[in-house]
Homo-oligomer: 446 residues x 2
């Protein structure tokens, strides 16, 4: 029931399956798309079901309903009492959870491989047969509002992130927080949740990923048995989201809050996402983020700002191309003691300007390539990470080939590609620059 922090995708982008032959893909007649990833080193299995429905698919004014439904999915069905699914998983030595993002909602269990049928029966059951009592939904609405209190409203950085994001997107629903705007969450109803559930929770809108100590034939047989009989949603149509108009005017935001322990400067630029069959630019931006801010101190920003008389305590760059529509490329600088936010920003911009002028350092570029290879090896041990990667990609409109081709796309990135991508994305007209501070540092009211 947690929301993933998008920048975590950065690391995952550098780990990848060494053995693509272990991945099997099939589609059931009712539209359910399935991926099986074999990994026989340990007798465990991960089942994930990804629904192609995230907060960016919500109607304007109904923000939070995707995440609300995620919570409600742990209530009962015709065959399961409220909370029974998680209890059964736990009683069988497994764990389960779920998460909601802009483009998808996903559910998973990790359990002993011989219990796959058990979790598949339960997951299939709640795909179409959820039952929501009056008490269930009202209580759970309080829970998600409390989650918002804890995750967002009690955290100035989270509040500021939400406000910046709303200013970053002029039209796209990506400007609306996944958790929802509080005043809209408070108005969500059982009918809202059920309408969402009935439309989007269906085999033809879902991706099943089973990874671990399993055989593809066995998984397919079980999927046919449990998911096969479920009815698809008719006339679902393609996913259509409002797109950004040209962003033509640079934006700046300041947010001052007494709870801020550490002021910082952020800059986010609108940036293209990975597209099916067209991942080269996203790969270049992924490498660019590593070059500029990856591993902190050894990056371009780190070397310029964290040594000598340091301007920054920490620097970072992030890009996650896994999105259906335009995403962002992010930079941040945490100023060192005695350095103002203006000085930190100026130093960041001077470093960027120098980088644009001088280009990529070949030695650093070679190191990053090595890191990518290391990431691949590391990924072999991460069966759940692989499951996550396939599920997320397929739920975000990419294909199995795109996932398989991503390592090659990353390897193919040249220094020139990185500089071209940087030139394209570093357009201040499409950027939001943010200053987070304590009230003393910035005057916020007239």
């Amino acid at each position: 029931m947690f929301r993933p922090i998008l920048m975590l995708g950065l690391l995952a982008a550098f780990s990848l399956p060494a053995n693509a032959e272990n991945v099997t893909h099939f589609i059931l007649p009712n539209g359910l798309e399935a991926i099986v990833i074999e990994d026989h080193r340990a007798p465990v299995v991960v089942q994930m079901v990804w629904y192609k429905a995230g907060s960016a698919d919500e109607q304007r004014g109904k923000s939070g309903v995707a995440h609300f439904l995620e919570h409600l999915m742990f209530k009962g069905t015709d065959d399961l009492a409220p909370g029974e699914l998680s209890k059964v998983v736990e009683a069988n030595g497994g764990s389960d959870n779920a998460f909601t993002s802009y483009d998808y909602t996903a559910y998973y269990q990790r359990i002993s491989a011989d219990r796959l049928e058990l979790v598949m029966r339960m997951e299939a059951d709640r795909m179409r047969d959820l039952i929501l009592s009056e008490d269930d939904w009202q209580t759970e609405r309080e829970v998600i509002i409390e989650e918002r209190n804890q995750r967002t409203d009690s955290d100035p950085a989270a509040i500021f992130g939400e406000q910046r994001r709303a200013a970053q997107y002029l039209n796209s629903p990506y400007g609306t927080p996944v958790i929802g705007w509080r005043h809209e969450m408070e108005q969500l109803t059982r009918d809202d949740a059920l309408a969402w559930y009935r439309r989007y929770y269906a085999p033809n809108n879902a991706v099943l990923v089973v990874a671990g100590d399993v055989q593809p034939d066995q998984v397919k047989a079980l999927a046919e048995q449990y998911y096969g009989p479920l009815a698809p949603t008719p006339d679902l149509g393609p996913r259509q989201r409002a797109q950004e108009p040209p962003q033509l005017a640079e934006r700046r935001m300041t947010f001052a809050d007494p709870r801020v322990a550490q002021p910082y400067v952020t800059r986010s630029y609108l940036a293209p996402e990975r597209d099916p069959g067209d991942q080269a630019q996203a790969a270049a931006l992924t490498v660019l983020a590593q070059v500029l801010g990856g591993n902190g101190a050894t990056s371009v920003l780190g070397k310029a700002l964290m040594f000598g008389t340091p301007k920054a305590l920490y620097v970072g760059a992030g890009y996650d191309g896994m999105a259906i529509d335009d995403t962002t490329f992010n930079l941040f600088v945490v100023p060192a003691e005695g350095v103002s936010l203006q000085q930190a920003e100026d130093a960041m911009d001077a470093t960027l300007a120098k980088f644009m002028d001088e280009g990529v350092d070949p030695a650093q570029f070679a190191r990053i390539k090595t890191q990518i290879t290391a990431g691949e090896i590391y990924a072999l041990d991460q069966v759940q990470g692989l499951a996550q990667r396939y599920g997320e990609a397929l739920a975000s409109g990419l294909t199995v080939d795109d996932v398989k081709g991503w390592p090659d796309a990353l390897r193919a990135v040249t220094e020139a590609d990185v500089m071209t991508a940087a030139k394209d994305v570093f357009d201040r007209r499409r950027a939001v620059t943010g200053w987070l501070s304590q009230p003393a540092a910035v005057e916020v009211t007239q």
Copy 2:
């Protein structure tokens, strides 16, 4: 077919009917609400039909459809050939037009009073019986795109206004331009237009205003004859729009364009709108705008910035409370020769701070009260302005009593009310500050 500039409402807000007895209000059984304003000084009549459907009622992703339909309403019906309505009005010595805004779309004719039946028959005809040929809608879509070219894309101030507005509203559809985002206008279809038409163009979603040399009984009889038989839209429900979340982070925007002839600074603060039965705060903000920026040079900003060694060529303040949801209070300063945008903004802020400290000048406040009275007298000659005011108010959720009570609400505003309203609205966390300039003055790309 023009969009009204919202700030024009400012002047209108100070003119009002001296003789409220001349206003008659009735509702037909099919839901059509009607206002008759008698004015027998000239043998003319104005008929307006206001639909409670504006761009803020559009689905996200379908921006521009309200305005598109406005254009298409001049095509044919079962009884009228394309363009015939306007031709008949003109042949009878009249004129007609239409306009679309965030909260409504309106159509009007001004014609000799003895031709009221003629224009009412035609207006009622197109309320339900519009016919759109394939050729009609495709051609008209080109027309609205060209209108966007001329009104917005060829005008840096208009582009910047659009971008600022999108950043001002984090969630409300008021952040979407009335004309539409170009990429969405290009995708509008006949089906989109007809779905909009069928839902919103109905007697139970319309306000008829007839003003001029007419008798209420005569108007009512004609309305019953022509509008009375039209079928209402069933299950229309209340208008529901996404509301703003708390705005917590100050925003700044810069836009540089070589076509900018005159740089300026703007500041817009989110501000409450006029609400039914609750207009006192809006009245105070209306007076505040006059105090700060009305009549340019004699206002608080004008006196401070346009004299001595002038900092500004021109200053202004604007507020129009006629809206369904939160609106904005706007300030702008056009710097004098040799004065930078930063200096102009600093001077504006210093003036505001001084004003907040010292309060309203009693002599100036008395002058503004006199202007309000003068505005009332002027309004007596403006039958079309009165029709506009009633139609706009009723289409925006206000009542006849609200319109009649507005002059009193303005008169009742005290100096203390103005200062309280100023304290409430001047919160930089809810503000967007904009700099429009030529590229030389501001660096916009990295």
